[in-house]
């Protein structure tokens, strides 16, 4: 069975641990260098199915500001990032918006909601 060693740089927090993940038959069999659980989960994911949080803005109608920052509830698969951005570019919300309000539910059927990162008052 072929083993692959992947060098991974954790982005889980600013400590920035670097480490290695050893893969055999598509499964993680060994890992070193990541100093917390979150980092180990990230590193395993990064080799098998990389994911990222997505943040962008959507247009606001009638608000004190023209744009509302939005954020994915959870990381989305890396190769779906641009599709998420495209989807959100077409969204216009009506002010007022409350922080944490769901702006797009189950984006692209990925099972991830996009939420308002802050509130925007009516102009």
């Amino acid at each position: 069975m072929t083993r692959h060693v992947h060098a991974i740089q954790c982005i889980g927090c600013p400590v920035g641990c670097g480490g290695e993940v050893v893969i055999e038959a598509g499964a993680v069999i060994e890992m070193r260098g990541f100093t917390c659980d979150k980092g180990q989960a990230y590193a395993a994911d990064e080799v098998v199915a990389p994911k990222r949080m997505v943040t962008t803005t959507v247009r606001v109608d009638g608000g004190t500001l023209p744009l509302l920052p939005v954020v994915s509830e959870r990381p989305v698969p890396k190769d779906a990032i641009f599709d998420c951005i495209r989807l959100l570019r077409s969204v216009v919300v009506q002010a007022p918006v409350e922080a944490d309000a769901i702006i797009v539910a189950d984006a692209l059927g990925l099972g991830v909601n996009f939420r308002a990162a802050c509130s925007i008052a009516e102009a």
Binding site: Q9, M53, T57, L67, P69, A117
Partner: protein, 433 residues
């Protein structure tokens, strides 16, 4: 003109000002005021729509506006006064803070204590002297961030980023997501100035090349920028002849460092640390001006807002105690200096302890190193040390050291030296949160 009296006034309503005001309140200050020049609180966080804020402070991964929002809600739930749209013109001895706003005109507020929390601003093209013509299309990364994230404009379609500071890296990703082509990031130093996580998730994820030890030697274009010439630099940061190449672009973003916004302090004769660009403070974050405290990026540029909030809590609490007459008058100071391998240390001096068990130091290394040892020397003797797995100038080191270790020596000095090999499997020691 009306006059106003406060126990504590925070100048600037970003993360530092809000955290300072809240902790002043908690420490017993009755009347607390935040003066903010923008029309809302939150400062620069409002345009930092990416996530990664608050991992330490809230144990949650928030966006900039999300982090600001939590603090804004806490301020709203308190009886802290907030003056928005108000620019402070001067902050004079005796805590006399003069501000002006379009709606309220001139207002003078007097604080028993004042916290400087004005944040920082970006180094501009002038400050780093890029040669060439002066076409349109050259922006600081932060100005571009405001355009894209708050106003909804894309400042260019083909982008070159000069400097690898975090805002530049974040904007490389942001512009890419918005449909621009980011051609490259050029960093004059042989190492990056941004957080490693940002190199990975903002550049590597999108295949954007980072050229280290490269400098822009010319900017081209008459009305609009059309390109730049780049060259490799030697160890003395001088361009190496023959290594030049051209990159076409219609937009250049500068991410070449941040400078504390200290005009108010300077005008009042504040004693400034030449390296940090912020005031010289003791462990209470009290500056050389009696009753004036400082916190956040106006004191020294942070890479994590979490540390800003934490530091501001120290300043806010001290400011409250000072207002209540409970902070011991500044006596003899002991200097804390940056020795070999250390570029900056805050606080730069210690006043006699007052009910504290320990002091938290924020340091920056002067160069990148692998496994290292951070040491504190008291009058030449090592009194404390800690292993560091890796050292980067871009990542602040936080060290909490007990007064027992700090003792009563005359001079304290921090150093960072390479650790003897074999130490690499040692996990990084966690800071005391």
């Amino acid at each position: 003109m009306r006059e106003f009296r406060y126990d504590v006034i925070a100048i600037g309503g970003g993360p530092a000002g809000m955290a300072a005001a809240l902790s002043a309140k908690q420490a017993g200050a009755e009347k607390v005021l935040i003066i903010e020049r923008d029309r809302e609180l939150g400062g620069i966080l409002q345009q930092c729509i990416h996530n990664g804020f608050g991992l330490r402070r809230f144990e949650d991964e928030l966006t900039g506006p999300g982090y600001a929002h939590r603090y804004i809600n806490m301020v709203k739930a308190s009886d802290i006064d907030v003056w928005l749209d108000s620019t402070v013109l001067s902050a004079a001895p005796g805590g006399i803070v003069t501000s002006v706003s379009p709606q309220q005109g001139l207002r003078v507020a007097t604080g028993s204590s004042v916290v400087y929390s004005m944040g920082c601003r970006e180094r501009t093209r002038g400050a780093i002297r890029i040669p060439g013509s002066r076409p349109a299309g050259v922006f600081t990364a932060g100005a571009a961030q405001r355009m894209v994230n708050m106003e909804g404009y894309l400042p260019g379609k083909e982008v070159v980023i000069v400097g690898s500071g975090d805002i530049g890296l974040i904007m490389a990703r942001r512009m890419t997501l918005e449909g621009a082509k980011v051609k490259a990031v050029f960093e004059i130093m042989p190492y990056s100035n941004g957080l490693t996580r940002n190199i990975v998730q903002c550049l590597e994820d999108f295949g954007i090349p980072l050229y280290l030890a490269h400098s822009v030697v010319a900017v081209h274009g008459k009305d609009r920028v059309t390109g730049v010439t780049v060259a490799e630099v030697d160890a003395a940061l001088t361009p190496i002849p023959g290594t030049e190449f051209d990159v076409a672009c219609d937009c250049v973003l500068l991410s070449v460092g941040l400078i504390p916004e200290n005009e108010l302090g300077r005008a009042a004769g504040l004693h400034i640390d030449a390296v940090t660009g912020g005031g010289v403070v003791d462990q209470f974050r009290e500056t050389s001006l009696a009753g004036y405290f400082a916190a956040g990026n106006v004191l020294h540029v942070h890479d994590l807002v979490d540390w800003v909030s934490q530091e501001a809590e120290i300043a806010g609490k001290s400011a409250a105690l000072h207002a209540l007459g409970k902070l011991p008058p500044a006596g003899e100071h002991r200097p804390v200096t940056a020795g070999d391998g250390v570029r900056t240390v805050v606080p730069q001096r210690l006043s006699p302890p007052s009910g504290q068990l320990s002091v938290r130091f924020y340091l920056r290394a002067s160069r990148p190193m692998g496994a290292s040892i951070l040491r504190l020397h008291a009058d030449g003797n090592v009194v404390w040390e800690r292993k560091l797995r890796v050292v980067k100038p871009s990542e602040m080191i936080v060290a909490e050291i007990s007064w027992k270790k700090l003792g009563s020596s005359d001079v304290l000095e921090f150093t960072v030296v390479p650790a003897p090999v074999e130490a690499d499997s040692e996990p990084a020691e966690e800071e005391v949160a």
